[in-house]
Structure formats: structure tokens, C-alpha cells
């Protein structure tokens, strides 16, 4: 029985995160154990994994199964700061694979253009993110919604004042990066929009 175990990490960082002791960045680790399985199928599997990473905005992927272990780290997009997303069922922890994102990288200004061609809506303030006008209302925007410059995409509450945040761009929302009720900091990425 294949026992898939995967750990993944996204590039985004919620604010107020726990700081662990400083870790050094690790250079790309690509380690693959070739089994008796045909080389061609492994390449196909690898391509699938890379596609999985790109489509889900992952910067690292670490998978182990049936004696095979694949650990991939994606370059090109500089994540704002390191954070550990909750690990998904780490049944077997791979020995010695400690991968960390670089610390202390200057964040993009609001409206960052990243290598995947998407536009990022970032937070202009510090506060608490709310995806809807009230707990009973539908969210301002969802994945697939079209937004324009004046579209309200969310509320950020600071000192009991609710501020409407506008998209300030044109396009289709492809990703929502934060959860309602989550604390956000200045410049924190909130949404990814496909321009056009």
C-alpha cells in the first residue's frame, strides 16, 4: 500500500507568526531514489509534481512513498519571509531534509508582479482581515470573480474601524491567500489576480 506522505510549504506569511531560531537557507535539494521502475515513468511523475507545485503556488514539495522520496524547491519567486504551514500527516519524517525560505527579503510593494504573471493585492495596513461585510454575508470576492479598480475585495479592521480595501487592478481572482479573521501586516499578500 502506498503510504503517501507529503509536506508542503507556501510562500506567503501570516503576520504575528512565531519566530523559531534563525535557520540558514538551504540550496535546492533534488533527491530521487530510482527504484526498479522505468526512468521514463519517473520523469512523467516528476513533471506532474512540478505542475502540482505551480498550480498550487507551492515553493517546496517533499513526498515519500514506497522507498521513493522526492524533494523539490522552486526558485524564481522570493517569498516574503519564512513560515511553517501546518504539516499534513507527517507519518514518516524524511531524514535531514530541513528546507527553509530565505529570511529578511524585502517584500514587494503593493501590486507585485511575480514571475507567474499574476498580480498580487497586498495589505496597505496592519489589522484583521475579513472576507465579508458580516459573518452572515457572502464574501466580497471568490475565486473566479472578476474585479475592477474600485471593487471592494475585503475589509481590514484596525482599532475598531473597518476599512474597505479596493482591488486597484482589473482581472479575475485566482487565489485567496488569507482567511477571514486572520491578522495581517503591511504589505502582506491577500489575493492573486490574473490581469485582463
Amino acid at each position: 500500500m502506498a503510504a503517501w506522505c507529503s509536506r508542503f510549504r507556501t510562500g506567503e506569511s501570516p503576520s504575528g507568526r512565531r519566530r523559531s531560531p534563525e535557520r540558514k537557507g538551504v540550496i535546492v535539494v533534488l533527491d530521487m531514489f530510482l527504484s526498479r521502475i522505468d526512468f521514463m515513468i519517473d520523469i512523467k511523475k516528476l513533471r506532474e509534481l512540478v505542475k502540482l507545485m505551480v498550480n498550487n503556488e507551492l515553493t517546496e514539495l517533499d513526498i515519500e512513498s514506497e522507498g521513493e522520496r522526492v524533494s523539490l524547491k522552486r526558485r524564481g519567486e522570493e517569498p516574503p519571509a519564512a513560515v511553517l504551514a501546518p504539516a499534513v500527516s507527517p507519518a514518516v519524517s524524511p531524514p535531514g531534509v530541513v528546507v527553509a525560505s530565505p529570511v529578511g527579503v524585502e517584500a514587494q510593494g503593493s501590486g507585485a508582479e511575480v514571475s507567474d504573471g499574476l498580480h498580487t493585492i497586498t495589505s496597505p495596513m496592519v489589522g484583521t482581515f475579513y472576507s465579508a461585510a458580516s459573518p452572515d454575508s457572502p464574501p466580497f470576492v471568490q475565486i473566479g470573480d472578476r474585479v475592477s479598480v474600485e471593487s471592494v475585495v475585503c475589509l481590514i479592521e484596525a482599532m475598531k474601524v473597518f476599512n474597505e480595501i479596493k482591488a486597484e487592478c482589473e482581472g479575475v481572482v485566482v487565489q485567496v491567500l488569507v482567511e477571514s479573521g486572520q491578522a495581517v501586516e503591511f504589505d502582506q499578500p491577500l489575493f492573486k489576480v490574473k490581469p485582463g
Binding site: R18, E106, M125, A158, E185, F186, D187
Partner: protein, 448 residues
């Protein structure tokens, strides 16, 4: 005791506060602007929140953003450090109204001592030595002339709303006063929006002597003796030392006691500094102002008294009593601090921000370095240029000076220009060694 505090500052003082909090087992929250993302205290804090872009008005001076960060991080208290919002009574008020303790004095005492006129009136009432001159604002030219005649020329006309060396005019005689008085009022109105001026005796050769006070919220307030900060350039301190090398025991005792009287009268608590000018000829003291906050040069006093001022600030803010009485406070030995700035003394003190490739601070007995810099650190151009404080403590002044010289020789900061060469020169200057200087000494020396 607090369980979590927010550090509303940056640079070396943010790291200083972080260290004190760590030793008290308090969690720390750093707030930072985008250019300070890699800063030492940001990396070391338990939580860090980016609050805005580099410009201070949208980050370190921005009250809503800082309070917002304090709320989402759920802190008990905020330490404002020095500069930025440290003496902003409105900020202190906002903190406390949001149930967040402001690590500093009460708003009332901050306002009372922070206003030069009310401070001077309180000083007169409690026999704290002040500048002879007008008791308050001078309303007419005739009044100014009358006062000048009484106290003797030269006199200085000061804007009541001014500070930090701005809005001042020295006049040496009656004619100069007549033309200067009106001009000073117009200037004051233009710069500070308040044309009020007052007239005081001007000291030709002055030393800057200040007294450190520390009080709790249970009525106990003590002094931690004095510091001499005469070595300045354009009202910016370069070198500070304790004790003052030219005052007698009696003068020291009287001065420090007067500072305590003044602060007690204002119901002051936490850390504060009462600044005086001393006439080098007569040893007469004139109250200048009270800084209702932690000072840059606090390490000098920490070294000679052995008291951790920042930890004590946090403790008294949390309601603890001072752990010592006035009798317990003693000065041992002599301490000197040199402020190292990212400026080029050979080039008109032009700022020299940029990447530090090599940062080798000195060490050894009696040496303390307070800095946020390290090899690879990029000094941003957006904030003040101080990058390190070198503090030395030895049993006597001569030894301390020798150690400063030794330490400056070891201190390598490359490739940016720093004021280390200037300090080296000052540490070898005969007049400084003899204690024969005044607040314009460095400027005169540099002019030659």
C-alpha cells in the same frame, strides 16, 4: 509582570529593549518598516509585524499602525524607546485608553515637565537652579530690555515652542536686543506657529551636565547621579561620561537632589533626565529641559551604578517597587560612551549609508558595544545615522580614556565612513583629557 510587550522603535535601542524583556521572560513583538525587515531585533523577537514603508510617518511615527499591531499581537505594554513617539503624550494616552501600558511616565507629568514654561515655573517653586531671566513669556520689547539690564548681557532670546537648539538668538548688547527681539518673534511664529519668546542669561562657556532619575509608581524616586555631555557638535552629543569630571561632591549632591525635587514635584515615575547648562567659570547651573524618556546615553549610568535602567523601567511600569533606595545608589569608577555614526567627518559629516561588509566590534575588559549592526547589514538612508555606541567602564577616567582609544583601534567598520576617526582624535585631545572643554569646543576644534 507583563507577558508580552511591543517595541515601538528600531535600531540599537530596539535591541536593547528586547534584551531587557528577554531577561525578564517577557515575550517581545517587533514592529518594523519594510527596510528594517532583516534587522537584528526583528529577527530575534518572538513576533514581528511589518507596519509600513520606510518613511517614519507611515511606520515608526504612525500611531494607528502601531496600536493596530499591538492589538493583533495582544500585547500588555509598549516600550517607545527614545525619539519617535517616546515623548508623545497623545501616544501614551492612546495606549492606555486601549488598555496597553505605556512604559514611561504619566501623561500629566510628561506634559508638565515637557513644557518649558511650566517646567521652569515648577523649578522656581522648588528651588531648582534656573537661568536668570523672564519667569514666562516676554510680552513687550520694553520688558525684554528691562530683564536684560537686570541679569546682564549677553542674553539669549528663545522661542517658547522651540527646542533641540532651534529658535534661539544670542544678543550681546542693547542695540542687538532691540532689533533681535522683533525678529525672534517673527521667526518663532514662522517655525513653530507660536511667537512667544522668553529671555535668559546666556552662558559664554557652558558645560552640559544632566541628572538621571528613576522612579516607581509608589512614590519612590531616586537619582542615578549625573552625566557630562559637553562634547557635542551642533547640539548633537558625541561623547558622554559619568561622573562629571569637574564638579565637586557638594555641587554634585546639590544638583542631583534638585533634579529629584523637580521630578517628585511633577509626580514623575519611570526613567527621565534633567538637563542643565553649567557656567565653566562660576559653576552656576541653569535648568535647560527635562527629557521624559530613556536617553541614548543611558548605558553610561548603567555602567557606573550597576543598575539596569531599561529592566527597571519595565518593572516599574508593571507596578513593581524600586528594588533600591537612594542610599544604595553609588558610582563606581568612570564610564565613557562614544556615539559612532555613519557619517564622514572628513567630508562635512555627510551621511554614509550603505552595506557594511566588515563589522568587527571591540571587546575585552571594560568594553560594552550597543549596536544593531553586523557584517552584511545595510544601513538605511531613512533614519538617524547612529550605528553603534561604544561604552567603556574603568576604575578611573584616565584608564577609561585609554581603553576607549584601544577599543576604537580595534573597531573595524568597512567600507562605509564612520565617525571613529573623529573619536580617536578627540580621545587624544589635551583639553578633553584635562576636562577643559565647553559645548562649542568640538565645533571650534573642527573649524581649525
Amino acid at each position: 509582570m507583563f507577558s508580552r510587550i511591543l517595541i515601538a522603535n528600531r535600531g540599537e535601542i530596539a535591541l536593547r529593549i528586547l534584551r531587557a524583556a528577554r531577561e525578564l521572560d517577557i515575550e517581545t513583538v517587533a514592529v518594523y518598516s519594510t527596510v528594517d525587515r532583516g534587522a537584528a531585533h526583528v529577527r530575534q523577537a518572538d513576533h514581528a509585524i511589518c507596519i509600513g514603508p520606510a518613511v517614519a510617518s507611515e511606520s515608526y511615527l504612525n500611531i494607528p499602525r502601531i496600536i493596530s499591531a499591538a492589538e493583533i499581537a495582544n500585547v500588555d505594554a509598549i516600550h517607545p524607546g527614545y525619539g519617535f513617539l517616546a515623548e508623545n503624550a497623545h501616544f501614551a494616552e492612546v495606549c492606555r485608553s486601549c488598555n496597553i501600558e505605556f512604559i514611561g511616565p504619566s501623561i500629566e507629568s510628561m506634559q508638565l515637565l515637557g513644557d518649558k514654561v511650566s517646567c521652569k515655573q515648577l523649578a522656581i517653586k522648588h528651588k531648582v537652579p534656573i537661568s536668570p531671566g523672564s519667569k514666562g513669556k516676554v510680552e513687550t520689547e520694553e520688558e525684554a530690555i528691562k530683564i536684560a539690564k537686570q541679569i546682564g548681557y549677553p542674553v539669549i532670546i528663545k522661542a517658547a515652542a522651540g527646542g533641540g537648539g532651534r529658535g534661539m538668538r544670542v544678543v550681546h548688547n542693547y542695540m542687538a536686543l532691540r532689533s533681535g527681539y522683533k525678529a525672534a518673534m517673527v521667526e518663532a511664529d514662522a517655525c513653530f506657529g507660536d511667537s512667544s519668546v522668553y529671555v535668559e542669561k546666556f552662558i559664554e562657556h557652558a558645560r552640559h551636565v544632566e541628572v538621571q532619575v528613576l522612579g516607581d509608581q509608589h512614590g519612590r524616586l531616586v537619582h542615578l547621579f549625573e552625566r557630562d555631555c559637553t562634547m557635542q557638535r551642533r547640539h548633537q552629543k558625541l561623547i558622554e561620561e559619568s561622573p562629571c569630571p569637574v564638579v565637586s561632591e557638594e555641587e554634585r549632591d546639590a544638583l542631583c537632589k534638585s533634579a529629584v525635587r523637580l521630578c517628585k514635584a511633577a509626580n514623575y515615575h519611570s526613567a527621565g533626565t534633567v538637563e542643565f547648562l553649567m557656567d565653566t567659570q562660576t559653576h552656576e547651573f541653569h535648568l535647560m529641559e527635562v527629557n521624559t524618556r530613556l536617553q541614548v546615553e543611558h548605558p553610561v549610568t548603567e555602567m557606573v551604578t550597576g543598575i539596569d535602567i531599561v529592566k527597571t523601567q519595565i518593572r516599574v511600569a508593571a507596578g513593581e517597587k524600586l528594588a533600591f533606595t537612594q542610599r544604595d545608589v553609588k558610582i563606581r569608577g568612570h564610564a565613557i560612551e562614544t556615539r559612532i555614526n555613519a557619517e564622514d567627518p572628513a567630508n562635512g559629516f555627510a551621511p554614509s549609508p550603505g552595506r557594511i561588509e566588515r563589522f568587527d566590534p571591540p571587546g575585552g575588559p571594560g568594553v560594552r558595544v550597543d549596536t544593531h549592526c553586523h557584517g552584511g547589514y545595510v544601513v538605511p538612508p531613512n533614519y538617524d545615522s547612529m550605528i553603534a555606541k561604544l561604552i567603556v567602564h574603568q576604575p578611573a577616567r584616565e584608564e577609561a580614556i585609554a581603553t576607549v582609544r584601544r577599543a576604537l583601534g580595534e573597531f573595524r567598520i568597512e567600507p562605509i565612513a564612520t565617525t571613529i576617526p573623529l573619536h580617536d582624535r578627540l580621545m587624544r585631545n589635551g583639553q578633553f583629557l584635562r576636562g577643559d572643554v565647553d559645548i562649542h569646543f568640538v565645533e571650534r576644534l573642527l573649524e581649525k
